[in-house]
């Protein structure tokens, strides 16, 4: 098995392209189907860690404080996110409670802590252990199930729905959810697969020599037919 570091295949149509050196914030797209192949993330990398830590603060506020309060004939009721999950559980809607719990509480937290751990351990030693590999893959796998921005819209819809029925007032967690959704939009634009580009020095050297060997090849096809000798 041999890696072809100077080639890249489109994940949507399988076309093989020569890997381009991307300039500032440039995006490489597949010439056949238009899918994104690669994106220059150098600018973003430095921002991800502070944004993730800010998100973590927002996350705590969003989970500790009530999302909204309701006043009905003098009786007042507040609910937090966890409170909503628990009341679903109390109605024996366990599957639903589980789904809401993982998509709005567990996976966002996992995503944030995972990214923080990953970025800190990468910046420290630049080395990647086997456990770290697994960690990156898990963060990627769970990513579609982080639904903070959908929850925010859901909270707004629920809020407006109640205004016709009773007196409702937004809780601190509603604002925090807004902030969290914005921060998450920026944090999640960092695809953890670019972690692999922050390769440790000795590996980068190896990749560079491999690239030099085939850099004379004018096209993707030629680079392949050249068949660089196996290590």
């Amino acid at each position: 098995m041999q890696q072809l570091p100077d080639l890249i295949a489109c994940k949507e149509c399988d076309a093989v392209h020569r890997r381009l050196t991307l300039g500032h914030n440039e995006v490489a797209r597949c010439s056949r189907c238009g899918a994104e192949l690669e994106r220059d993330m150098r600018d973003h990398v430095g921002r991800v860690l502070p944004l993730t830590i800010a998100s973590l603060f927002m996350y705590v506020i969003a989970n500790v404080f009530p999302v909204a309060g309701l006043e009905f004939h003098g009786a007042v009721n507040h609910t937090t996110l966890m409170g909503a999950v628990l009341s679903l559980g109390a109605e024996e809607m366990y599957l639903l409670a589980f789904l809401v719990f993982v998509t709005t509480i567990l996976f966002p937290l996992f995503q944030l802590l995972g990214l923080i751990y990953l970025l800190i351990s990468i910046s420290g030693t630049g080395r990647r252990s086997h456990g770290l590999n697994l960690w990156v893959r898990m963060i990627q796998t769970f990513r579609p199930w982080v639904m903070v921005e959908v929850l925010l819209l859901g909270a707004i819809v629920a809020f407006v729905k109640l205004t016709s029925m009773a007196t409702v007032f937004p809780g601190p967690a509603l604002w925090a959810l807004g902030g969290l959704a914005l921060l998450f939009a920026s944090v999640l634009s960092f695809n953890p697969r670019y972690i692999w580009h922050m390769a440790p020095p000795e590996r980068r050297k190896k990749l560079a020599t491999a690239a030099d060997r085939t850099s004379a090849a004018p096209s993707a096809e030629k680079a392949v037919t050249a068949k660089p000798e196996s290590p």
Binding site: Q3, V16, E38, A84, V100, V150, L153, A155
Partner: protein, 209 residues
């Protein structure tokens, strides 16, 4: 156009490293993910998930998603559609449109597109490959937004719990609805868009190499 499959290469689905001379059961040398030339059993898995989602689509739309009991009025059961109509008639048109798109149009669109993609990929069709790929991208992007109604009902059930005056309970319909969303999300994840290009790309008629 040279494709990885025709050149005997395998793309790692996680870290996008490209490998050649890959044996069965090999793992990516960079990130350790299992290497597959195509997502395993993509078509049959996606079919199974889409069919299951279609079955759940019926109770999701027919059963009540929310049961409201408020003291002077009698118990009221809302389905997805009656909730949207309620927003419309009470004057919240913006919300009516948002919920109509997220809860009605998006799931229907997803199921229709997934069936279209499956049938065309299955028949090795080369019809409008670019547009089909674009449809797949849209389905992947919008799929999560159908969870909107699940969160609305959950928050209402958590908030409106004033015993004796007003209580909101989640109805059985919302469980079926959540199942449709989750199943279609899994379906779009297990579908491999490269299968469309494999069999349908017009270049394939010309023998290459």
């Amino acid at each position: 156009m040279k494709t990885a499959a025709r050149l005997g290469m395998v793309l790692c689905g996680h870290c996008a490293a490209l490998w050649k001379d890959v044996q069965a059961h090999d793992r990516c040398g960079r990130c350790g993910a299992r290497l597959h030339p195509r997502k395993p059993d993509s078509l049959s898995r996606t079919w199974a998930l889409v069919i299951a989602a279609c079955i759940m689509y019926l109770p999701a739309n027919l059963l009540p998603v929310m049961i409201t009991a408020s003291f002077p009025r009698e118990e009221q059961q809302d389905t997805i559609m009656s909730g949207i109509i309620y927003f419309w008639t009470s004057g919240s048109w913006v919300l009516a449109v948002i919920v109509f798109i997220a809860s009605f149009l998006v799931p229907l669109f997803k199921l229709a597109v997934m069936i279209l993609l499956l049938v065309t990929a299955w028949r090795h069709s080369s019809w409008r490959l670019l547009e089909r790929t674009r449809l797949y991208r849209i389905v992947e992007l919008i799929g999560r937004w159908s969870m909107l109604d699940v969160f609305v009902v959950s928050l209402l059930a958590g908030l409106v719990q004033i015993q004796g005056f007003a209580t909101v309970h989640a109805g059985p319909g919302i469980v079926a609805f959540a199942a449709v969303v989750v199943l279609t999300m899994f379906a779009s994840m297990s579908f491999d868009p490269r299968l469309m290009w494999d069999t349908g790309a017009p270049e394939q008629e010309k023998p290459d190499e």
